[in-house]
């Protein structure tokens, strides 16, 4: 009897172990990034309790992090498909130039908003066409288009900045960058909406399933009848659309347009994605990882200042955390599979 019950106990413990392994295997990346997130959070609270135990800093994060975190979502999708889009910083600005030109011509902020989004979609489509139809690697193609559209922004705006105060008199302003109850930034709700929408697309829609397959083995995907070209073009269009949207949100937040809009976001957006466990080789990545990654990246700058370190340390810490996280993802990936 005793040996039988021991056997049952052993097999139960094996099953538990297997279930745990399976769970870790499936969600290993998310566990990794979540542990980095909580580890850093505790560190910040210990080092700067005055700042990190007050709600103000969190409202501030929810106000500024969405500007680039929004773009990180569709960008994660395109990186999972084995591509990259470095032109999103210029798309942010180009969408705003079209916004201003349309407003100046029609005095309608709504039409201006729609034209800005359509501009993003068009530039995304063009990126997709260059990559898919002409077979240019997306890294090279979007370096090119990044310069081209930044050039177009400078030519069209004559390098001048401009006020957007007039948008404050319209419903568009509170709808995109208002504050609920005077404190909660609406752009955070947009970020959540974009995050959930992209998650559904990636994990519960045929489009997302195809993006994973393309990034993993494009040849297999084609043999199995997946239209890899169309899926990738749609991925680039999604990045274009959200980038233009983020450009409008960022500009309306400060009611000001400046021609270098978006330039500071390239590295931190990519850092958030890679920190979140998305593989630069494609086929692997999660939306939750990029979401948390964006908040870690966004918090580091504020934290270094709050802790009393010099702001010059920010980039050094960015680099350290990214390298450590990527090493950890790779190690966990090998151990758990």
């Amino acid at each position: 009897m005793t040996s039988q019950s021991n056997e049952i106990k052993t097999s139960q413990s094996i099953m538990k172990n297997l279930n745990l392994r399976r769970l870790l295997h499936t969600y290993g990346t998310q566990f990794g990034i979540l542990s980095v997130f909580f580890g850093m959070w505790i560190f910040f609270i210990v080092m700067a309790p005055g700042t990190f135990l007050s709600s103000r800093i969190y409202y501030s994060f929810m106000s500024t992090i969405p500007f680039f975190a929004m773009i990180a979502m569709p960008l994660t999708v395109i990186i999972i498909a084995g591509e990259i889009d470095l032109s999103f910083t210029s798309i942010m600005a180009m969408g705003m130039v079209m916004f201003i030109l349309t407003y100046n011509a029609t005095q309608s902020v709504w039409l201006a908003f729609i034209v800005a989004l359509a501009t993003g979609l068009f530039i995304g489509w063009l990126n997709g066409i260059i990559v898919v139809k002409f077979g240019i690697p997306s890294l090279v193609a979007t370096i090119g288009t990044q310069f081209f559209w930044r050039g177009a922004v400078l030519v069209l705006s004559q390098g001048r900045s401009g006020t957007l105060v007039y948008t404050k008199e319209t419903l568009l302003h509170p709808l995109l960058v208002g504050k609920i109850g005077g404190v909660f930034p609406v752009q955070m709700l947009w970020l959540i909406l974009i995050t959930v929408g992209t998650w559904v697309l990636l994990n519960r829609h045929r489009f997302g399933a195809h993006m994973y397959l393309i990034g993993d083995n494009a040849n297999s995907a084609e043999l199995m009848g997946v239209n890899t070209g169309r899926a990738r073009i749609m991925g680039f269009m999604l990045v274009g659309l959200v980038s233009a949207f983020a450009g409008v949100v960022t500009s309306l937040h400060v009611t000001y347009f400046w021609p270098s809009l978006g330039e500071g976001y390239l590295m931190r957006t990519l850092a958030a994605i890679f920190l979140g466990g998305t593989s630069v080789f494609g086929g692997v990545g999660t939306i939750l990882g990029s979401f948390i990654g964006a908040f870690i990246i966004g918090a580091i700058e504020a934290a270094t200042v709050a802790i009393g370190w010099t702001g010059f340390l920010t980039q050094l810490i960015y680099g350290l955390i990214i390298v450590l996280s990527v090493v950890m993802h790779t190690y966990l990936g090998k151990r758990l599979t």
């Binding site: 045929r206 040849n219 199995m224 009848g225």
Partner: protein, 251 residues
Amino acid sequence: MDYRLELRKVSKSFGEVRALQDIDFKLGRNEVVGLLGDNGAGKSTMIKIMTGYYQPTAGQILFSGQKIEDLTVPKARQMGVETVYQERALAELQTLWRNIFLGRELNNKWGLLDVKKMKTETHHLMTQSMGFTSTAVSPESIVGKFSGGERQGVAIVRALYFDAEIIILDEPTMGLSLKETEKLLSFVRGIKAAGKSAVFIDHNIYHVYSVSDRVVVIDRGKIAGEFLTKDITLDTLMEKMIHVAESGSLD
């Protein structure tokens, strides 16, 4: 005779290279046809035309006597063609269930996936058809961690799941152990027993001979000859293959 699949005067060129020239090929109902030929003879190009992956430069493709224009992979699948590719066409970083439904995900009219059903179906296929009984394997297992035989099992089960009428196997024994190869050959015999048709391509002449009703020899993009296996011994077939390899024809 009513053929399930027919190629009429099919040619395929890649730029200056003529991969196939005037191929006439027929696959009957409930028939297994073996395709034999040296490396670069055009076997893979021929099956990629049958599956809609390549479009022929000239010639016609017929399914059950009906001419099909601009055959694509999805269209060929609609006509009941399933393929187990040489490279197995698996996405190795993805889960088992994603691989089973690769390119043919179960979704509603909005494209939203029925993930639960795909996982349940995969679990069923895993235990019933693939013989995976280990608790370490689940629909969430990553395919890249499977053995060669298990991966081939995934590719075959995927082909069977969609109730194909014509199953094309391109070098399916490559990288398999002896035991796994025997299992695969009995599977090909099972296709015929189930009233379906198959095209079997393999380097190994013994494998092809043992499962095929008819053997078609292809050399340098042309059909060099064909034999009913019941009319020819394995030794004679071997001799003819060597002759074809040396001279390019059976004469």
